[in-house]
Symmetry: D4
Subunit: 253 residues, 8 copies
């Protein structure tokens, strides 16, 4: 579908011959940009409300930089996760204004394009200090997707008063992301205190039998608190993304 | 806190001396009904917006029936999951109008107390026919929590056109629950097609190395589609509960 | 070592030629009663302060009954765990006063021989109703070993106020046993509230990915609360035994 | 079997006293070249239609170089997999024309000996950019075994239109190799679209609970699409080899 | 797409206005028969060359019978796997000529519609007698898909001469399916003896640490013989299906 | 190789034209009795010094009975393991003198053919009473293979004096088989006390996290006592067989 | 709660208006020091009898140093575990007298504040030399918590006389910590010899299938000796902490 | 027991007052040399026929050197396994004649003290070239324990004729050690060809799902060939030790 065809379609839309759904579907399914090592899906932004995000692990610096450039050139917000300093250096060469968050290990650009879309605040809670990098990835994602965020750190269940004394912040959130390693118990406690969705993120923090996050993951999947859903180990990005979809303001409400 | 104390507290609330939050907190933390084998938490309804749900596995028929009676006597909606025919028979003796859904294996009562609270429709999708019991548990939960529901069955990825041809239903949903066994691939496909939250439920359906749902669980946790969160294997109840929290209409929007 | 030899040794002890340790060691290592299918270690009572306990799984009814009879005939307290009704029937034929606890699945006899040996109270806490059988096994063991016991049931972390409101009972205990399935989070919360030893017992209760107690076990091993130690899945007996050793009054204090 | 014996056997074959099968069997079972650290099986080429391939992991540079030299001296095509730069340097010293593919990590030589033997095209598909190295190993193998190859990259299921829009390429293939990490869902989708054999290769790409490819492996083994078979994690070589056997032109058809 | 539309499309095809691919695609994507508990995909036969197969586990007798009837009424070959005697009884009520293979646990009907489509013989080999049921499922599948089959039973590697002495049968096959439990070693030996594709099927046969087929599965995935691909544990159907696709005669060769 | 050919071969052996090895090899590789569901390897007795043993799990009663009859008719000792009462009933119909050991779950016949072949005594030790069935299978195997056996039961490490006090029996053995469940620690202790080979057999006895013998298996594989080798979980037969090969008297010594 | 409020509360306590429990509870729940990356729980010392301990893994040097400084400034004993040399260097800059135990990998300060609180001696036993670092962490913890300690090294079960010959030391202990890798059998032997609590610590020492301590962990969980409880792999700190709680002198005895 | 006491005991032995067993037992249990970090068990040589062997992993260079020196000074053969170059350098400083085998990673000294004790030849077989280091550790151990050894390398099952053509070597062995990675199938084939004990050693060689040797380990434990026993992954030392005990010449035969 070339530029002319898009125009035609849009004119038809204006005259009421096709619906908005028709236009979006057409865009979504037909326009794909083939690189030698990737198939860019620029119109994911139309289908999902957020452009493609680059997962840097297993990609060379050049690959990340080239994909990043295409996304920015296309006029979309850039987000890259699991980025090393080397990835960032390569991206900086082609995108001067790219910013690197070394805690979250994310690269972002075109942030001025972000518009606030959330109904309420996304609260990101961590059980310990060591869980902060994953929480930071979640927060960065939620911000780029247009949400207000807040945070509570180091309020794990071994000192239960720390979380209970923060009930005001908990009540103020419209979605809560809970990041925890070790036994992953915090989401159960939080889930029992609030009446909003809780997304649990296990982290690979802990002694021997934490098995790089498996213990926390299993703890969260088996949470006795209803309303808790789980994402993959250390997957702050996924949690931030899901929380953003939940928090997104829509016309129908 | 006895009845007199509650009244005092409420009068203070009327005169503006305490806030609504104060009242709810007081209720939530102090009133607990101790049985010999359970600690009923009636005011969970105030904290979470839904009364305690009975998980029947590992409980005797008598225990389930007695807890159920207390909940119904307390004027709350009753929901019991993983109930056998024997559990139902015991409950029927003390709650005449209790209803048993033998596919979902749920017992419900006081359904007339349910009021519609959802912003949109919760769509429950299954990959195969064998996934229906878990989907039914999710649907029953969502309905009891005041939501409109819809469903799509047997639209697994091996015949990808089945799900793609249902894009209207997908677009119409405000939350999608995807129930799948075997490789658990359907949530990834659905997650790539919609811009609303997707909750994935792995089921214990499949050949040998499905390992009673572990394969599906891992597939869903590793979904390449952002925005997918996961609940425990065969946990239709958890998915329905989380979807209801997500879909719940709130004042702030 | 025959009866004559034992007398000689004891006379020497009286006259100060050998120490008490010498006598106990001699007894412990040399007197063993060989059956055709078991090697009874009657003097374990001297070494460990409690006679041999019969683990019934994998043993025939006759084997259990014969071993039980020897223990009772020897003048010791009888305890058998994981006993079925059939095991009990066989034991009843040879020990009229044997008692069966069908929740704990234990058989006991010679309870009049128990003498109180504990410094304080052993508190047994369960997260849910389904955890009661394992808690009962722990309680029965602690009682037979001469301890005062107390209990708290169904105070899991999804309703955190239930456990917090019981701080008096928690403060009153000298050892706490916490029995929990699903994510096994309760010991972490309890461990953070008390300054006495906490023994965690995972149970095989829960949805799919609880993996028959592995999730709870891992959760407890990874507890962020220091001072928590763990026994095997569903091993109420082991928890009760360890708690009794901890609680035992000794001369040195 | 020495040179004289081989000649005798071949003369007998000429005069019809022994069959071709007899000759091949004799060669296959009796002629083996013993090195100090390996037992070369030169006549594998006769039995399997491809000479022995060197798996470099766990072998020293010298061992790889020496085995490689024997294979090339024997007049066979050389293929070495999982080769490091150091392995390549050692091989280059003894085989000047050896070529290193640093993406696939393969060393090849004597490529001019390859003759085209395939019935159709082997299509190699990847779910993401990070899966390319494994796909490259598969492609290199298929080429060396005399096949035409084609490829599709980065067409994972989260953007399902990417693969569906390539139905022409899919229809054109006689065997499809699908390389995917994370949840490994792509083979199920492809398997439902084509009527030719699909070989799935899990890769060790992904977040925490991908467990270095186990999730993808399980996803593929549990594929709901019939006709999908699986090879080991990251085993591009095995997939390329199996695809070549499937695609091989034979007299009988 | 109703009957009239199909006619129109076919007329257009006759006049050369649309291609055969267009017609098949249209059929494949648009015609789906919705039942209350299943979405029948009748045109899978056009896409994959074989109609939908019923996997009976987790389906009620009525569900299996109703789906089976639709398939037979549609004029397709019926195959149902993992069928119990009860499933069969229900099917027999609606399809008089249905046949039950109690070893393979398959139900078939409309076998007269099968036409031979294979290039050569599919050989099914078992390591032991206990592997026969899975082998039988593979054989039944291959026959229904139009292939000649042969078999070798109980030729496991502990008596290596048993398989070596059968080299004639091995040489005569165009695809070999190897079914084995325990250590799953037989596919490696067979894979080293033949130059045709080998599909390995692990079975859940063996002592304790066979872990219901995991040992055999891992053994096969790690086969040192190139050209071996693997299907799920006990998945004779999958092996038979994949072997049939490999063996299928096509125009291009 | 028919009867005439065998005769010829034996005559040549008599006249010194072929060696004994030649004769045995010829027998071993060429004479195989094909049944419909099994490939009998009668000459395994020549290669391994013991005839084929029937593993009954997964075989029907008829299959076991038919194979058993062939073995007995062939004049060999019969041994069948993992036999149920039903298997035994079927065998009794065709072999009147067959004997069933219901603890070991073995069927034997033709025991009069056993000749003593051992250098010393094989000692079978169990950690607990529940391990006796597996020990019995090992003992039965060792006896049928011509060995003197002795046993020590219920001497687990929690009462270490029980095993230490039996040093005379330990010193008297030429091979020790140690059967243990739970933590599988006994082989390490025994291995440190003797200077003969120790074969460890894990059993599936124990509480939750024994995981049906995995804990004991891992404990034994990781034994800190050198000289301990391990067989599969509950595999008493394998231990008895290996011990017999070790204990077998040979000409060369 | 500010300084004034604390004073008021304490004056009320003096006049008998509030109890000591009230004061402690108030302190415990309300006074928390928020840093940017941690929530310090200074009054854990009141609740648990020991101040917060810093787990260094996953924390930056700066974070550890800043938390350490706050703890020391607050007048508490400092303990940091899993500390690297870099962590120590950072702490030394702000706390001159901090001491680093490079075997135990602990940082301590304010040791002069430790007061002896134990009833008896805590004995730390290791199976091998390689287990010493974990034992050292346990010992360091026990000492900082005010206990007398003793030790036995390299007394594993393969030379059973080594531990038996040390019965005097074993009898002298009031709690025993047993540290072992490989099969983890030593706690079972020790548990059978003493009548005091035994805490088992698995270590990640051993050959391949020790799986970084899983074998030892499982061995200990499945110990056939009653009275053994377990902490996480390599968790010397947890064992030392639990042993200290057990050994703590209390008024009630 | 001091030197004087030893003399007294030995004189009593000479005069027939105590038996040889008494003397050995006395030595074995009472004489232990305590270092600060190890408890040397010099008399293991009397109990087991071989002195203590140093497992270097997890030990510092100094610790290894000091233990090594004590062993050599005591007049025993020195063997250290899993030694790095650094360990060797430290040992060389105190034991000039120590020899390092860099393939087997062993340090040995006092080899002149070895005396031949074997009945026959121990044959070490490897499936591939990558398995050689483990095989070398086994061979080195067997030699130091006084055995003749032989070897077969790179004879894996994918080229089954390689092992079959070596039947002479196989027949000549009195014990066979089979070292294999990947699927670990070779021991089953060898076990079916010989009538002597086979010890299987899994190695951590292979592609992804070999899981560092677990696949090979499981394959070997599940071997369908009776008479195969297994040691830990990569444990060449254990295999060599067990084979030596099996091969040891004793008086009784």
């Amino acid at each position: 579908m070339n530029r002319a065809e898009i125009k035609t379609l849009l004119h038809e839309f204006k005259r009421g011959k096709v619906t908005a759904d028709n236009v979006i579907d057409a865009f979504s399914s037909n326009i794909i940009e083939p690189l030698d090592f990737a198939t860019l899906d620029h119109y994911r932004e139309l289908r999902q409300g957020f452009p493609e995000v680059i997962f840097c692990e297993g990609k060379s610096e050049n690959q990340v930089a080239e994909i990043a450039k295409r996304i920015v050139d296309h006029g979309s917000v850039l987000m890259a996760t699991r980025a090393t300093n080397k990835h960032y250096a390569a991206v900086r060469k082609v995108i001067k204004k790219a910013r690197y968050n070394h805690v979250a290990r994310t690269i972002v650009a075109n942030e001025h394009l972000v518009r606030m879309r959330g109904r309420g605040t996304i609260l990101v809670v961590t059980a310990g200090t060591s869980d902060i990098p994953v929480a930071e990835e979640a927060t960065e994602t939620a911000k780029l997707m247009g949400n207000a965020t807040d945070r509570l750190v180091d309020v794990g269940v071994a000192g239960i008063h720390r979380i209970i004394s923060q009930s005001a912040k908990l009540r103020n959130a419209s979605v809560v992301i809970v990041v925890a390693g070790m036994e992953g118990a915090l989401p159960s406690v939080v889930g029992g205190l609030v009446d909003v969705p809780v997304i649990a993120v296990p982290t690979s923090v802990g002694y021997g039998a934490s098995f790089n996050g498996i213990s926390a993951l299993l703890g969260m999947l088996n949470s006795c608190a209803a309303g808790v859903t789980v994402v993959n180990i250390d997957n702050g990005f996924g949690a931030g993304f899901a929380a953003s979809l939940i928090n997104r303001k829509r016309q129908e409400c």
